[in-house]
Symmetry: C2
Subunit: 87 residues, 2 copies
């Protein structure tokens, strides 16, 4: 089966997020007040061919451990959706 996969990789609570801090400081100068707690992470989207959802999720978890995320400073949330049969 083909799965549409989205992996959100974001900094753990307590880990500095300079990109978010820079955005938060820039917004008031542009007239946007009322924004706080800006955190910037990555969102990876791809298609994965796997036997079933269980295997797909396990494979994506292993990808996160080995390449996509740094577990010391980041967490990864996985979203899977079946989009079609095996090609």
């Amino acid at each position: 089966m083909i799965f549409s996969v989205a992996v959100e990789v974001r900094p753990l609570e307590g880990i500095a997020n300079p990109e978010g801090l820079t955005i938060e400081r820039a917004l008031p100068a542009l007239g946007f007040t009322g924004v706080r707690g800006v955190r910037v992470g990555k969102l990876l989207r791809f298609e994965l061919d796997a036997v079933d959802e269980h295997h797909a999720r396990r494979e994506v978890e292993q990808m996160c451990e080995h390449l996509l995320a740094n577990p010391v400073i980041e967490r990864a949330d996985i979203h899977l959706e079946a989009v079609g049969g095996t090609q």
Copy 2:
């Protein structure tokens, strides 16, 4: 009202995404086959104080136009969720 906001900023179709391409090329060497079409974007999360959802969405759209996304090469998708009253 306080809104929990998530903004996904991702490259438009047809725009090169070197980070995604690098990941896609690295995965087979780590034993992960069956992955294709890797695209890497940003996911911004923050809290916004606004009168109602209509105003909140309009404000976030303007933030995207002015700071968060480059409309020439990126699209921004906005997700809003009310999480509490005005502080």
